[in-house]
Symmetry: C2
C-alpha cells in the first residue's frame, strides 16, 4: 500500500512532485530547523487516486489518524478538545504554483463546544467566534459548494439590522449571532447541518481540496500556464497559528532580495494584527517590512536570519510567508521568488559573484525573453495614466512622435528632423519608407503577425497594432478614439509597444542602458558602470563561450547589418532583396514588368543593376569577413504593381464619370489582371520566378558578384552566398544554379576576380524537406525558412488566419502559442529534423541555419540547437537574445543528459 | 574481359538490355530458324564503355574480326573483295525503341575498287553507284559529322547542270560522277578522304552509332519518353540485303493482327523496288500487304507463316520489317507491336481466348488510360477538318451543342430541351448550374487544372479549356476566332475534348458502346454482342476478382451516385456538400453570413436544413448498403458572396455616377471586405470554419443524421460517414467531433433511432500526415485529400500555377507530369506513407482511402495499392479505370515479388 501522507519532517524539497511546492517547502524548512507549525502533507498521488476513483485511497483514514496523533503531540493540543482545542488549516499545494486557484479551509476543529474552549484558552470570545464564522463560511462554500454570496448577504442583513457599517466593529455577541445565522444558511442551502465532529470537518475538507484541482478556474489557469492537467494537488494539514491574535501578532511576506531590482537586502510587507488571507486579499494596508524592526525587533532579527539561511540553502532568491502569533515567529511557506527581468540578471550575477552558484547556473536563471525586455526603452510614468487606446503589443519598446497618416508624409517630416509615428489602418509594402522613417507604427487592424507587426519587429521598431477602438481616417488625416478625442496630423503621441497602449502627448522616456551598452560595443565607457549592464555583459560573455550555434542576423541594409554586428551577429543569415526594389526603384521594376520587348526589359534591369550593386557593397562592407547570405528576389512581381481592386475601382469610377483612362493605367490594369493570383503565397514567386522571368536572376547575381569584386579591390573580405528561395525540387535548384554559375563565370572573365560564390537554398516547403537528400546534392547550404514552412505545413496563411481564428484557436486549446512565434515541433520541427538528417547523409557537414522569425524565439532556438543546426538568424535586435538562448539550450542539453528533467 | 559482341545465334529475346530491342529480336528470329541476314550485335555495355572513356573497350577490334569472319562465311562473300564484295549495314538498337533518333550507316564495304565488283556480280552499275553514293552521304554526315545539306546541294548542282528534275532518272554515269562529287565534298569539308579500307568504314561507323546515343534529339526524345540516359545503344552489324534490287525485290512492314482494331489477320504495307529507308521516310507510296499475294505468292505465304510463328512465340501482337531481295524473303526486325486502345482490349481477350496467355497476362496488356479512351464518344469525321480553335484537351469525349455565354442561358435552353455548350473566358463556382446543363464547356483561359477542367472532369463532361485563340465576349454573347469567324449565341459547335479542338457546326458523333454497356449494367442486351464490349467486360470481371483495393466514387448528387454505382463504385468516398449551398440556396447562405443576430442566423440555417436533408436522403438511397462519406463544408464562406473586385468596381462606378448605393450592396461589400483573404486556400475553411462559424456543423450533421433516420424508416440500409476536412491538429478534430456527437445524440434522442455515424478526417495538410499517429486516436478513418496535400507539400496553388509556369516546368524537366495529375511519390507519396504507417500504429486496421483526383490516375492508383490503402475514390466516369488499374497494381506487385523488374 502506497504511503499517502508525509509528516513535514519526512519530506524534502526535491519531493515537490509528490508533496507539492508548498509541502516540499514546509518539509525543507522543518528539516532546516526553522519554526514551522507542525503538520503533514497528503500526497498528490492520493489526490490523483481520489479524482480517478471518486473515493479516498485505501488506508488514508488510518494514516490521517496516525499523523494527526503526531501533530497533536507536537502541538500539545488535541482536535475537538473542548478546553484547549487544536485548530487546523487544510491548504492545497500543487507542484507548480497556482495562486488562489484552489481551496483552503482554516480553523478546522471549531464546534459549538470547542469554540468556547478556544475563547477561554486562546484569545477571547470575539477572536473565537470570528474564527468559527470564518470556518463556517469556508466550509460552506468549499466543502458544501454553497455560493459565497449566501454568507455575504446574511452578514449584510445582520449588519443592516444592527446599523453597522464595517465588520471590524462587530462585537463578540454579534459574531456569536452570526455563527448561528451561518449555521442556518448551511442547513437550509445544503440540506445538512454543519458537522460538529472535527474529524468529519477534516476529512471532508481534504476531499474538497482534492476536488478543487478540477475547478473551472483551476483548469483555465493550467491551460494558460501550460501546467499538465494530470498532476493533482497535495493537501497540507497544519496547526493553525494566528496573526490576528492581538497586538503582538501579525503576518507578512518577505523576499531575500528586492524582486523588482534584484538589489541585496531583505524586502517585504508586514500587516499587524491580521491573518495571511487578509494580506493576500489586500483588504488592509500593509507596511514595509522595515517597520517590523521597530514593532518587534526580536522577530525581525529572527526573520532576517532565517531568510539568509534560506537563500544560502536554496542558492536563489526566496520568498516566504510568515506569521507572528503573540510574539512567536512562524514560517508558513517558502519558494523560489519571482522577479523582474532586471532583478533576474542582477541576482544571477550577484549569486555567481558570491560563489553561491556557478556561471552555468547563473545563465540558467535568466531567459532570452527577459533580456529582450531589458533592451527596450520604457515610459517612466505611464502607470495609472489612461491611454487613448489599447491594441496588440506587437513590437516592444516605447516611442514618441507626431502622428502622421501616410508614408510619404512620414518620410518628409523625418527628413526634416521630426520624430513621427506612422498611423495606418493596416500597412502594406508601400508603407515601408514611412515605417523606416517613423519611431513607431500604430494600426487599427491586424494582429501579431500582420504586415505591420512582422516588419516592425524585423526593424526593431515599436509597434502597436489592431487598436480597434481607433477610427483611422487617412483622408482627413486624423484618428478618433471611442470617447471622441481627435488626434490630428502633427499631434504628438506616445506608443508603448510593450504594454500595447497609446497615450496623447509625450510621456517621459527612459532609454535602456543595456541596449546602449550592447550597441556601443567596445567603447561603452560610462554605461558599463551600471551594475545591470555589468550583469548582462557577464552572462552574455559566458553564453558566447558556451553556445554551439552561431547567431546571424536578418538584415537588408548596411545600417541594419552594422547594428546587427554591434549586437554580436556573426554574419547575415538572410538578406532580403525585395526591399531593394521599392521606393524610387519601383518605377524601374514596373518598367521591367510592363516591358513589351527584350530591349525594354534589359534597359530596366540595366538601370536597376548599379543601384542594387551599391546596396550589396554597403552590406558586404558592414559585414566584412563574415558570411552574408543573399536571397534572390522572392515575392510575386505583382506585389510591385498597384492593388487590383483599388485600380479596378479607380478606372471603373473614371469611366463612369465619362473620363478616358490614361493609356498607362489601362496597361497597368491589363498587367495586374494577367498577373492576378488567387493565392499569391502559393504562386509565381521564389525560384519559380527565377526560372520564368527573363534576366531577373542574372541581374541580381551580377550586382552581387560585382559588389564582391568591388569590395575585394578595396581590400575587403566579402563573403557573399547566394540563396535560392521556395525550392521544391532539386531540378529547380539545378537549373537556377546553372544560370548563377554562368553569370559568375562572366563576371570572373570580365574582372579577372574569382567570384565562385556558394549557392544554397531555403528549405521552406514540405517537399524540399522531404527530398532534402537529393537537394543537398546541389545545395551548398540549407537555410530553413520556418515562416513559410509553418504556413505550408499547417496550410495556413499568416496574412489571413491570425485575426480570423487565432484567438478562437488559442482559447480552445488547438495552439499553446502561435506556431508563427514558437516553432511547432511536431509538424514543422519534424520537417526540419528530416531535412537536416537526410541532407547531411548526402553532404556530410552541410551547413544548416534558420532564417525565419523563429530564430529569435527562445523556445524555438532550443529546438534548433537540439536539431543540430549550425546557426540561427534573427532580426538585429533579437541577436543578443539568441546568443543567450543558444547557450541556455546547451545547458538544457547538459541537464537532459544527466537525467535531470526539471 | 567482357564479351562485347554476340552473334545473332548467341542471343535471346530476354537479352534486350544487353543487345537492344532490335538485336534481341534478330537473335530470337535467328534461333527460331527465320531467314535473318547473318550478323552480330555489339553490346550496349561496349557503348557505355566507349561513351565513358572515349575509346573502344579493350579487345573490341579482335572480336569484330572474329565475328566478321563468321559473317563472311555465312554470307559466302568477303568484305573488300573486289569481285564479289560483302556489304554491311550498321544500325543502332537501344533497349527501348527510339525510332529515327540515332544513326545508321548502310552499304559499308563499297570502295572505288569494290563498287565495280558489285556492279558486275550484284545488279549492275546503276545500282552499285547508287549504293556507293548512299554510303558516302551517310558516312559523311554520320561518321564525319558533315551537314546533310552539303550533299543535297551538291546533288542539286549536278542535276541543275544536267537539266534533271528527279533523282530516279540519274543514269549510272551520273551516279558515278556524283560519287566523285561526294568524295570531293568529304575531302574539302572534313579535311580527310573517304576511307578506301572497308574495315575503317566499319570501325568508325560503329563508333559513330555509339556517339549518336547522346545526340541532341536523342536526349530530348529520352526526356520526353522517360527513358534513362545511361542505357546506351547496341550496334547491329549485318549483311546488306536489297529491296531495290530489281522487280522481284521490295520491302515492307507487317503486323500479326490489325493494330488499329485488333481484329485477326496479317496487316501491313509493301513497297516494291525500294529499300526500308524509303518506307520509313515515306518518299514513295506503299500498297496494302494483300497486294504482295499477287506480286509474289511464295514470299507472301512464307511471310504469313513466319508471322503466325512469331505471334505464337511472342504470345502477343508483333510487327516486323522485311525485305524481299530478288525473290528471297529476309526478316529484318521484329518487336511487340504498338496498338490502339480498342485493339489492346480485343487482342488481349483474343489471345486469352486462344489460350496463348493467361487472364492475368491479358490484364497486364491493357491500361486504365486505354479503357478511359474507350469510354468517350468520338467525332467520326473530324480528321483533316480545320478546327475553329485548339485548346487544352481538359476532359475527353465529344459533344455538340448551341454556344451559350452564361450559366443562366445554358440552364434555360437546356430546360427547354436544347443541347448547349457553355462558353466562358474561365468558369467560377457560379457557373456550376450552366456546366451541369451543358454538353460541354469551352474556355479561353486556364489549363488542365483550371476550375472548368477540374469540375468538368469530375462531371464527366467534355471540356476544352485555354483555347487562347478565341476572344470570348460574354457581353455581346459571341466569340471571335483569330481569322475573324464570329460564333454568335445559338450557333452550333462541336467540341472534341480528346483532341482539344472546336469545330463550327455539328460533326457526326459516334457514341461509345463500352460506356453504354458499363452504364447499362446487367441489362445491357444488344450492346454486349459487340466484341470490344465483350473484351472489356471479360477483363474488368477478371480485374474485380483480382484487386485488393475497393473503388468508390466522388459524387455529390443522387444522379452521380446512381451512375457511379452502375459503373461499379462500391460507395462514395467523397460527397462534397458545397454544391448543396449554391444555386437557389445561395440566398439562404448569404442570409446566414450576413446575419446580424443569432436568431437571423438560426433562421437561415433552419431553412437550409430540409433542403440538405433531401439531398442526403437521395444520395443514401442511391448508395443503399454502401458507405457514403460526407465531407463537412470546406470552402471559405466568402466564396458564396460576390467577387470583391467586381463588387467594389460596381459600387465605385455607381458612386461616381452620383447614385446612392443600395443598403444591401453596402452591407455585402462590408462583409466581402471583412472576409477578404489574401490566400483563401490557406484561410478560414475546412475544420477552421467548422470551429468558428456558429451552427454550421450542427445543421449539416443534423441534416445527414435525419436523412439516415428517414432512410432506415423507409427500410433502407444507409451507411453515412462524416468526414472533417483540413485538419492539422488532433485537437481540432476532437473539438468538432464533440459537437458532432452532441448533435447525433440529440437526433437519436428525438427519433429513437441510433445514428452513431463514424467520424473520420481528411489528411490533406502536411501537419496532419506528420501527426497522423495522434489524429488516428480520434479519427475512425483517413481519407487522403491529395489535391490539397499536393498544393501544400509543393507550396503551389493549382488555381495559379498551371497557366503561369507549368509549361515552363515541364519543358525544363522539373516535372515529368503535373503533380496534380500523377501523384508526386517523393513528396506527397511519402506523406501518405508516413500517415498510413503511423495512423495504423495507433489504430490497427484503420481504413484509409484517397479522394483526390489522383484516385482516377493509373500510375497513382498503383502507388496507393503499394502504400496499403483500402480504397480509391474518383469521379464516376473514372470508376471503371480505377477498377482496372487497382487490379493491374496487384499484377505489378506479383511481378515485383518474383523479381521481374520490367
Amino acid at each position: 500500500m502506497a504511503k499517502n501522507i508525509y509528516d513535514f519532517d519526512e519530506g524534502r524539497r526535491e519531493m515537490a512532485g509528490l508533496l507539492g511546492g508548498k509541502g516540499a517547502g514546509l518539509a525543507e524548512m522543518t528539516r532546516m530547523g526553522l519554526p514551522v507549525p507542525p503538520g503533514f502533507t497528503v500526497t498528490t498521488e492520493a489526490c490523483r487516486s481520489y479524482l480517478l476513483t471518486g473515493a479516498e485511497p485505501a488506508g488514508l483514514r488510518a494514516e490521517l489518524e496516525r499523523h494527526l496523533a503526531l501533530l497533536e503531540r507536537a502541538a500539545g493540543r488535541r482536535l475537538g478538545d473542548p478546553h484547549a482545542p487544536l485548530l487546523l488549516s487544510v491548504r492545497s499545494g500543487a507542484r507548480y504554483s497556482m495562486p488562489g486557484m484552489m481551496e483552503t479551509v482554516l480553523d478546522i476543529g471549531l464546534t459549538d463546544a470547542t469554540v468556547r474552549g478556544l475563547a477561554e484558552t486562546g484569545g477571547g470570545k470575539r477572536f473565537a467566534y470570528d474564527s468559527y464564522r470564518r470556518l463556517l463560511q469556508m466550509y460552506g462554500s468549499t466543502v458544501l459548494g454553497l455560493h459565497r454570496g449566501l454568507f455575504d448577504s446574511a452578514l449584510t442583513r445582520l449588519k443592516t439590522a444592527r446599523g453597522l457599517a464595517d465588520d471590524r466593529v462587530l462585537t463578540a455577541d454579534d459574531l456569536a449571532d452570526l455563527v448561528e445565522v451561518y449555521k442556518a444558511v448551511i442547513r437550509s442551502a445544503a440540506g445538512e447541518d454543519f458537522p460538529q465532529d472535527p474529524r468529519e470537518q477534516l476529512y471532508r475538507s481534504v476531499q474538497a481540496v482534492f476536488r478543487s484541482w478540477n475547478s473551472e478556474r483551476a483548469r483555465l489557469y493550467r491551460r494558460r500556464e501550460h501546467i499538465p492537467d494530470d498532476l493533482g494537488t497535495a493537501v497540507n494539514v497544519q496547526m493553525m497559528v494566528f496573526g490576528n491574535h492581538g497586538p503582538r501578532s501579525g503576518t507578512g511576506v518577505a523576499f531575500t532580495r528586492d524582486p523588482a531590482t534584484g538589489r541585496p537586502g531583505m524586502y517585504g510587507d508586514y500587516l499587524a494584527g491580521a491573518q495571511g488571507e487578509d494580506v493576500v486579499s489586500g483588504v488592509r494596508d500593509a507596511v514595509p517590512l522595515a517597520a517590523l524592526e521597530e514593532l518587534d525587533p526580536a522577530a525581525y532579527r529572527a526573520l532576517r536570519g532565517y531568510l539568509a539561511l534560506l537563500e544560502t540553502h536554496y542558492r536563489d532568491l526566496c520568498d516566504v510567508e510568515f506569521t507572528i502569533d503573540d510574539g512567536t515567529l512562524w514560517m508558513l511557506q517558502t519558494r523560489i521568488g519571482k522577479r523582474t527581468a532586471e532583478a533576474a540578471f542582477r541576482i544571477a550575477a550577484q549569486l555567481a559573484d558570491e560563489g553561491l552558484i556557478t556561471e552555468d547556473e547563473a545563465l540558467a536563471r535568466v531567459t532570452g525573453e527577459q533580456l529582450g525586455r531589458l533592451l527596450f526603452p520604457r515610459f517612466a510614468d505611464s502607470v495609472g495614466r489612461r491611454p487613448l487606446a489599447h491594441g496588440v503589443p506587437a513590437s516592444p519598446g516605447a516611442a514618441i512622435g507626431a502622428a502622421v497618416f501616410d508614408s510619404a508624409e512620414a518620410a518628409r517630416r523625418a527628413a526634416a528632423g521630426e520624430k513621427v509615428v506612422l498611423v495606418r489602418r493596416e500597412t502594406t509594402p508601400d508603407d515601408l519608407p514611412g515605417m523606416v522613417a517613423a519611431q513607431a507604427v500604430l494600426t487599427s487592424r491586424g494582429g501579431k503577425t500582420s504586415h505591420a507587426a512582422v516588419v516592425a519587429r524585423g526593424m526593431g521598431k515599436v509597434c502597436v497594432c489592431g487598436a480597434e477602438g481607433l477610427t483611422v481616417d487617412p483622408a482627413r488625416r486624423r484618428l478618433t478614439t471611442p470617447d471622441g478625442t481627435v488626434v490630428a496630423e502633427g499631434d504628438v503621441i506616445s506608443v508603448d509597444g510593450t504594454a500595447g497602449t497609446v497615450h496623447l502627448g509625450a510621456l517621459a522616456l527612459r532609454t535602456s542602458p543595456v541596449a546602449a551598452y550592447l550597441e556601443a560595443g567596445t567603447d561603452a565607457g560610462d554605461i558599463a558602470a551600471d551594475d545591470l549592464v555589468r550583469a548582462v555583459d557577464r552572462l552574455l560573455r559566458h553564453a558566447d563561450g558556451l553556445r554551439r550555434m552561431e547567431v546571424r542576423a536578418n538584415a537588408d541594409t548596411p545600417e541594419d547589418a552594422a547594428r546587427a554586428r554591434r549586437f554580436g551577429a556573426r554574419g547575415i543569415g538572410l538578406c532580403r532583396t525585395e526591399h531593394m526594389f521599392l521606393g524610387e526603384r519601383r518605377r524601374l521594376v514596373e518598367a521591367m514588368i510592363l516591358a513589351r520587348s527584350d530591349a525594354e526589359r534589359r534597359q530596366a534591369l540595366k538601370a536597376l543593376l548599379p543601384l542594387q550593386r551599391a546596396d550589396f557593397t554597403g552590406i558586404l562592407a558592414a559585414m566584412d569577413g563574415l558570411p552574408v547570405t543573399v536571397r534572390l528576389l522572392d515575392p510575386p512581381l505583382h506585389e510591385f504593381l498597384p492593388d487590383r481592386t483599388a485600380l479596378t475601382a479607380r478606372l471603373t469610377a473614371a469611366e463612369a464619370r465619362g473620363e478616358t483612362p490614361e493609356p498607362h493605367d489601362a496597361e497597368l490594369l491589363a498587367a495586374v489582371e494577367s498577373m492576378h493570383e488567387v493565392n499569391p503565397m502559393l504562386g509565381l514567386r521564389g525560384v519559380r520566378l527565377a526560372l520564368v522571368a527573363p534576366g531577373l536572376v542574372a541581374m541580381q547575381v551580377r550586382a552581387l558578384a560585382e559588389a564582391v569584386v568591388d569590395r575585394r579591390r578595396a581590400g575587403g573580405d566579402p563573403r557573399a552566398e547566394i540563396m535560392v528561395p521556395l525550392v521544391a525540387s532539386v531540378t529547380e535548384l539545378r537549373l537556377v544554379k546553372a544560370e548563377i554559375r554562368r553569370v559568375l563565370a562572366e563576371v570572373w572573365a570580365a574582372t579577372g576576380t574569382d567570384v565562385d560564390l556558394p549557392v544554397g537554398t531555403m528549405i521552406e516547403l514540405p517537399r524540399a524537406a522531404l527530398t532534402a537528400g537529393r537537394i543537398a546534392g546541389e545545395a551548398e547550404f540549407f537555410s530553413y525558412g520556418t515562416n513559410d514552412l509553418t504556413q505550408t505545413v499547417w496550410g495556413m496563411s499568416r496574412d489571413d488566419v491570425e485575426a480570423e481564428f487565432f484567438p478562437a484557436y488559442v482559447a480552445r486549446g488547438v495552439f499553446d502559442a502561435s506556431p508563427f512565434e514558437t516553432l511547432d515541433r511536431d509538424g514543422v520541427g519534424r520537417m526540419v529534423e528530416i531535412a537536416t538528417a537526410e541532407g547531411r547523409e548526402t553532404r556530410p557537414g552541410l551547413v544548416t541555419g534558420v532564417c525565419g522569425e523563429h530564430g529569435g524565439d527562445p523556445a524555438s532556438v532550443r529546438f534548433f540547437d537540439r536539431a543540430g543546426l549550425d546557426y540561427v538568424s534573427c532580426s538585429p535586435f533579437r541577436v543578443p537574445v539568441a546568443r543567450l538562448e543558444a547557450a541556455r539550450a546547451r545547458l538544457d542539453d547538459a541537464h537532459r543528459n544527466t537525467g535531470d528533467t526539471r
